[in-house]
Symmetry: C3
Subunit: 310 residues, 3 copies
C-alpha cells in the first residue's frame, strides 16, 4: 500500500481516506517500538535526510528513530553553521542533496512554503516537518492517532484548541485534520492571537476558555512563545496563565475523563500546570510515542516497502 | 549475565563484584575492536540516545562507537541549540525521549545529580557520562581496566592522583573505584584544590607531589582547567607546572616502570610534559581504547544481549 | 584491488594509473546509488570518522552517505564546540580517535598540511576532505569522473578554470589531476587572484576569460568568496561578475556543447548566471552524484573489501 502522492506537505490537501490509511498504518507500526528488537527490514538501503533549518530536539529525533526502526540510513543536516552562511539558496542546497540520491528529504524551516517549493523542485519525496506558522502535518497525524486510540473514534469528537492560534502550525494542521475526520473543533485564545476569519477553516471561535472546554472530549493546549510578550501579544505570563492556562481548577469545569494534549515542549505553570500535564488525563507522552509510529508510517507509505519492489 | 541494577550512575554505589563483572565483560569485548569486522550483533534493534548537555568529542564518540559495534542504533542529541533554549525542563526532555522507546539514555550534564534525577524518572537504563564535579563512572572503569591489564591486579596497587582533585569527577570516581578494589590511593595537589575531609573517602592526602608518586605503581595526572587561574585557584600555568606537573625530571623520583594515566584532553607542558605523555610508561591511549570496550560492556550488562531475550 | 598507499592526501602525488583505478572503481559504484536498495555489504563493521574542523553540508554529507552505502558505520565529529576549545592539539585529538580503532579518518581543516600531519602520525588511512588553500583531492577526482563520463576521455581535453585560483584548493587539485591525465589546463581570473609562477604546475595563464574559454571543452567556474572583497581582491561583485563571471552572453563565445562545472555552492548571478548553472551544458549536479561514487571508491580502495579479508 502506498499513498498516491509524492510528498507529505500539508494536512489541508489530504483526503479523509488518506488520513485513515496513514493512521491505520501507524497503528500497525506501533508495536515495533514495544519489541525488544525494535527494527523491521522494510526500508533497508534507503537514505533519509533530515534537513532542519530550525533547531529541534524532539521532532528531528523522532524522524531519525523512525527511519532507523525501518532500517533506513538517516543523515542529519542542521543548517545554520553550513551553506546558508555561504549564501547558497535553499533550492540549491536541496538539489545538491537530491543529487546524492536520498529516498526522502524531511525539511523544517522557519518560512512557510519552503517544503512545497522543495517538493516542486525535487523528484524525491519531501516531508514537511514544520514550516513557519503554516503546517506541521506529522504532528497533527500523531495527535489524531492519539485521540483515535484513546477515544475509539474521531468522527463526532469535540476538540478544543487553546492558546496562540495565530502563530501555531500545530493548530492549523489539527484544525484541517480533525474537521476533515468529522470532529468538531473550537479554538480559544487571546483576541490578539486568533486570526480573523479562522472560522472559514470550519472551526468555532471563542475567547472564553471555559466555554471552549466545557463540552470538549479533548483539550489541546498550545505552547505560548514567551518571547511574544515583548511584541505585546499578551501582558504577562502570569496573566496569560490565569486567563488561558489549564490548571486543575479549570479542568473541573470540563467533562469528566476529558483528554489533554500538548505538542510540547511545555511551559509548566504557564499554559499548563504540572498537575494537569502529569495528571491522569494527560496524553502528552502518548503523543510522543505515537509520533514515531506516524513517521514510520509516512516513510513506509511514501517510499514503499521492499516487498513492493519485488 | 546482567548487572542487577537498572542504571550506572556512580562508582560509589557499585559493589566490588559488580566492578569485577564489568571489567571482565569489557575484557571480552576488547578483541571486537581489533577485528577487521568490528561488530557483534548483540544489540541489534536497540536504540541508544547520547544526551549531551556539555560539549564532548571523545566521550560522546566513544559511547557512539561502542553502541554501533554492538549493532545498536545511536542517536546523538547535543543540547544547547535545542529545547533548553525553549525553556523545557531536563526531566521533560528526558521523559519525551523515553516516550520514543530508547533502550538506554547516556547523559552528560554540568550539574551534579542530573543522571540520578533522570534515572528515578525513567524506566529505561541511564548511564552517567559525567555530571558536574560529581562522578564519571565509565572513565573510572576504563582506568581500572587499563591498570588491571597492565599490572595484572588492582588489589594492593598504589595509585597517586595528582592535580585539581576538588573539581574532578574523574578523581572522585577513581577514588571510589580503586579503594573499593583494594588499591591504595593518594591524592596530591594544590591546597586550594583538595577538598577538606577527602580522607573520609579512604585515600591519603598530600600537597607534595614527589611524596605522592614516590611509591606509586600508577600516577594519574588530572587535567588542569586553565580558566580556573582567574579564580585564583593557582597563580600561573608555569608555576602550576613546576609544582604539580609531571615531567621527565620528576618522573625519575618515581618507581621504575611506573604507569602514567591521564583522562584527557591533555595540556601538554602544563600538568604533563610531552616527554611523559608520549613516553614508554604512558597508557593514555590504552585508556581510550579500553573506553570503547568498557562502554560496550555497560550496554551489554544493562540492556542484555539478544540471547537472553530468547 | 587496493591502492598501494595508506592515505589519500593530494592529487599531486597520485600517479596516472592510480587516478585511473579510482575513476574506474567509482564508475562501478555509480549504479549502487541508482538502485532501490542503495547498499552493498562491502565495508560492514568498519568505522569511518568524519572529522570536520570547517563547517560543510555537502562534503560531509557526501562522505557520510558514501560510508553508509558501503555498510560502514559513520561517526561525525564537528570540531569547534568541542576539544579545540579545551586546547587539545589536533594531533592529540586524532591520536585519541585512532585509539578507538576507526578504519579511516576523513579530515577537513582550514590549515594546509593538517591531513598530511595526521597521516604521518596515524596508522589508519586518512582522507583529505579539503585543507586550506592546498588540496581537495576527492573534489578533483569527482570532477575528472564527470568530465570523463561526459566527454569519453581526459587525454587531450581542454579545461578552463576561471576565478579565484589563488585561494582555491579545488583549482590546485584539478590542475594537478587534469594535467596528469593528459588534459590541457588554462587558468583565468583577476591578476590579484592568480598566484605568480602557477605556470610551473603545467597550466597556461590568462587574465582574459574569453580567451580562456574560447577553445575549452570544459569550463570550471570557481566560487568567489564574497568576503574577499573587503580585502581588496576585487572591487565589487557586479564588476567581478562582468569581468570574470559566466553568463549566457559569454557562453556564446565558447565552443558549442562546452561542459560547465562548478564545485558549489554557487553564487547565482556572481561567478555564474542562473541560466548557465541550470542550462543544458551544466554538469553541476552530475558532479555531486559522482562525488558519492568517488568517495565510495576511495573507501573501498583504501580500506579493502570484505572479500579481500577472506
Amino acid at each position: 500500500m502506498r499513498l498516491k502522492r509524492k510528498d507529505l506537505l500539508t494536512i489541508e490537501d489530504l483526503a479523509r481516506d488518506e488520513i485513515e490509511l496513514i493512521l491505520s498504518t501507524a497503528e500497525s507500526f506501533k508495536e515495533v517500538s514495544e519489541r525488544e528488537i525494535k527494527k523491521v527490514p522494510t526500508l533497508r538501503g534507503r537514505t533519509i535526510v533530515n534537513l532542519f533549518y530550525e533547531p529541534s530536539t524532539r521532532t528531528r529525533t523522532s524522524f531519525e528513530i523512525a527511519a532507523k526502526r525501518m532500517s533506513a540510513d538517516a543523515v542529519n543536516i542542521s543548517v545554520s553553521t553550513s551553506s546558508v552562511v555561504k549564501g547558497e539558496t535553499i533550492r540549491d542546497t536541496a538539489k545538491n542533496l537530491e543529487a546524492m540520491r536520498p529516498d526522502c528529504i524531511v525539511v523544517r524551516h522557519a518560512a512557510a512554503g519552503v517544503p512545497l517549493m522543495l517538493a516542486r523542485n525535487l523528484n524525491c519525496p519531501v516531508i514537511n516537518a514544520g514550516d513557519g506558522a503554516h503546517e506541521h502535518p506529522s504532528q497533527a497525524l500523531l495527535d489524531m492517532l492519539t485521540v483515535k486510540t484513546a477515544l475509539g473514534r474521531l468522527e463526532g469528537a469535540r476538540l478544543a484548541v487553546v492558546g496562540d492560534i495565530m502563530h501555531s502550525r500545530v493548530a492549523r494542521s489539527n484544525i484541517y485534520g480533525f474537521t476533515r475526520m468529522g470532529a468538531e473543533v473550537t479554538v480559544a485564545g487571546p483576541p490578539t492571537m486568533i486570526p480573523p476569519g479562522i472560522e472559514r477553516m470550519g472551526c468555532r471561535v471563542t475567547h472564553d476558555v471555559d466555554a471552549a472546554i466545557k463540552d470538549a472530549d479533548v483539550i489541546m493546549m498550545l505552547r505560548i512563545q514567551l518571547e511574544r510578550q515583548k511584541d505585546a501579544f499578551f501582558p504577562t505570563a502570569r496573566e496569560y496563565s490565569g486567563l488561558y492556562g489549564l490548571d486543575e481548577a479549570r479542568l473541573k469545569r470540563a467533562k469528566k475523563d476529558v483528554l489533554i494534549l500538548h505538542p510540547g515542549p511545555i511551559n509548566r505553570g504557564v499554559e499548563i500546570s504540572s498537575g494537569v500535564a502529569d495528571g491522569p488525563y494527560s496524553l502528552i507522552l502518548n503523543q510522543v510515542t505515537n509520533g514515531v509510529a506516524v513517521r514510520m508510517a509516512l516513510f513506509y507509505l511514501l517510499l514503499g516497502g521492499a516487498k513492493e519492489a519485488a
